[in-house]
Each structure stands twice: as structure tokens, then as C-alpha cells.
Symmetry: C2
Subunit: 215 residues, 2 copies
């Protein structure tokens, strides 16, 4: 198993020395796009590396020079989708939470995301390297949204500033797992829609629970 570093563009890295033909940057984009396209059409289990390469207009060997296998490829292909997630300032914590819940749900509605996310997480239960990749490519980036939302709420006076930084970190992690977990579970396991009504109910539950946490 060759270690391939993660990056928006794997081609940016591999050239240890300097000389030689540079890796085609367009190829990376084409491969990732082709991966998402294949995921939509076929689902995780039926996607083959060979097929992705063909769709991307690239030789299979070229693909294998950049990614070690299907898992790594799919993580990178899907990771960029999560960058869409933003936390717009809507003036109140409740509105902010509701909006991010709906945005996250919309993201999970896209077939490439729902399929890939679970499959990759499943594979990661047996693969430490893959777990790290998911962590840096997806989880950590999203956790920032929690911190951002809390900071804003504190600035507004909706939440108290916390004295104990350890407790504050624990709470942030808890909130993150509750929000992301509930949305994912609702969408993928219960297989029911996250609509405005659900988002409202969930937000009410979360926020009043949150208030009592920090008292």
C-alpha cells in the first residue's frame, strides 16, 4: 500500500525532486468528477476503479499512481462537497442551527454523498489510515462550524462564555455529534426527510438542552 498524501490536487505533491514531466492537474479534477458521477449512477459497491478511469478519459495506471484504491479515491472525491457547508449569520443561534441542519440535510440528499459517506465510514472501522483521512478531510472541517456558531452566540449574549476550556471543548464535541448524528441517522437510517418542521423541532430540543448544559 503506497502512502499518498491528501490534497485538493494530489499532483501538487508527489514530485519528490523537481525535473520530469509534471502530473496533469486536469486529470485529478477529471478523476474526482468521474468518481462522483459513477457513485451517483452505480452506488458504492458497483463502482469500479477501471470504470472511473475510463469516464475520466485516463489510463487506469494513471489513477493508481495517485490513489491507493477505491476507498481513498472516494474520500477525496466526496470531501470537497462538504466545503459547501457554511454557517450564515442569521442573527440568532436558533436560526443559525436550523439553517445549517437544512444545509447538511440537503448535502446528504445528493446521492453521491449519502452513498459514499456511509461506505467510507464503514471501511474506516478497519483502517486507521482511512480514519485519519476522513478526520482531516471531513470531520475537522465541520467541527469548526460548531465553534463558529458558539462564538457568535456568545458575542450576541445568547450563550455564556465558558471558564473551563476542557469542558467547553467537550461540549463542542457533544453538540457536533448530536447535530451531525441526528441528521445523518434521520436521513440514512430512518430514511425519512429532514424538512423545515423537523429542523425546527430538533433545534428547539437542542437549544434548550444546551442552555441547561452550561448552568
Amino acid at each position: 500500500m503506497v502512502a499518498v498524501m491528501h490534497s485538493e490536487h494530489p499532483s501538487a505533491i508527489p514530485q519528490n525532486g523537481r525535473s520530469g514531466r509534471p502530473r496533469s492537474v486536469e486529470a485529478d479534477g477529471a478523476i474526482l468528477r468521474a468518481t462522483r458521477e459513477a457513485l451517483v449512477e452505480l452506488g458504492w459497491s458497483k463502482v469500479t476503479v477501471g470504470d472511473v478511469a475510463t469516464r475520466a478519459g485516463v489510463a487506469k495506471t494513471t489513477l493508481y499512481r495517485r490513489w491507493a484504491g477505491k476507498n481513498e479515491l472516494v474520500v477525496d472525491a466526496v470531501a470537497v462537497l462538504f466545503d459547501e457547508l457554511e454557517l450564515p449569520d442569521l442573527g440568532s443561534l436558533a436560526a443559525d442551527v436550523e439553517s445549517v441542519v437544512l444545509r447538511f440535510a440537503a448535502l446528504l440528499d445528493r446521492p453521491e454523498t449519502r452513498t459514499a459517506l456511509m461506505a467510507v465510514v464503514a471501511e474506516a472501522t478497519r483502517d486507521e489510515a482511512l480514519r485519519r483521512r476522513i478526520r482531516t478531510a471531513i470531520v475537522d472541517r465541520q467541527k469548526c462550524l460548531v465553534l463558529e456558531g458558539r462564538a457568535r452566540a456568545q458575542a450576541r449574549g445568547e450563550l455564556p462564555y465558558e471558564d473551563d476550556p476542557a469542558a467547553a471543548a467537550r461540549n463542542a464535541d457533544l453538540i457536533f455529534d448530536v447535530i451531525a448524528g441526528a441528521v445523518v441517522h434521520r436521513t440514512l437510517v430512518s430514511a425519512e426527510p429532514v424538512d423545515a418542521g423537523w429542523a425546527r423541532g430538533f433545534t428547539v430540543l437542542l437549544l434548550s438542552g444546551l442552555a441547561s448544559l452550561q448552568r
Copy 2:
């Protein structure tokens, strides 16, 4: 794709007519046990149907007579594990919730469960039949725990009886997704342990949120 009904013992069903050699009931058990064993050792992606058959001491053809493929097989193999989940009456809603959270987490700690659950959910995003199978074999059975806990809490006077049955059902679904989702996300995505401290914090958040939901 041949439709195979779900049951604890698939062999109980297939005999359309009557006469002929009956299916070996031990074989079913051996196959399911072998499936779980293989999942622990190899992880989802490396488990092969042929290997499972060999471990079970059964011909591959025999296995294919009962299950259509890897997905169906694994769902059934893992479903029985969820039957362990119970809701002991510990005298208070908080204690009940905390205990079920820890039990659920312990279940997800077992490698065969964590690996299989996510993989099957992932596959189900593209397979309606599989989704139904998961629903009846796993989800619905667990949802009962929520109803049971609520009924007990209401009997204790910890929660009000709800007038609107539709709202009550919505709330139960919400609670279910929040509990199961948070635990799953914490263990499998964030990859951090669900210990007593986390369970306590989560329960506090949930219960105080819950109180405000029904006001």
C-alpha cells in the same frame, strides 16, 4: 435477484409444497455465525461469500439457496445482535436513558456490529428492498425502546401525557434519531469513546431539551 423473506431461520419458509428433504436448520445458524466471525476478522470489504460458506462447513450453493448475496446475509447476521438491547427500569428517565446509551455504545464497540451496520446502511441507499429489510430487522425493533421509556416516564410523572398523537409520534421519532444518531456518530465518525461521562452529558442535554419540547 431472488426474493428471500426475512426470518430468524430462512429455512422455515422456502418449502413451497411439502415433500422433499427439509433444509438443515443448523446450517442457517452456522452460516450466520460464520458471517459474524468473518466480519470480525476481515471487515466488510474482504468478506467473501465463498469464505463464509467454508467457515460454516457448507457448500457455497447451499448458502445461495437462502440468501441472495452478501448484503442480505450480513443484515440477518447482525440483526440478532440488536436484540440484546433492552431498557431496564432503573427508576428514573435519566438513569434509563444513560443505561441504554451505554448499552448501545457497547454493542457498537463490537467489531462485527460497527463494520456491518454502516456498510449495510451504505448499500441500502441504493436498494429499496434492503432498506425495508433493515427497517423491520433493526430500526423498528429499537424504536420500541423509545416508546417504552416514554410510557414509563409518563407513569412516573416525569413526562406529561401528550394530547396530540401525531405530535407524540413525531417526538418519539425525533428522540430516536437523536439518541441513536449521536451515539453512532460519536463512535464511528468522530471515533471517540462513549464513556460514562459522555453519556451523562448527553442525557442532561437530551432531557432538558425534551422537557421544553412538550411545553
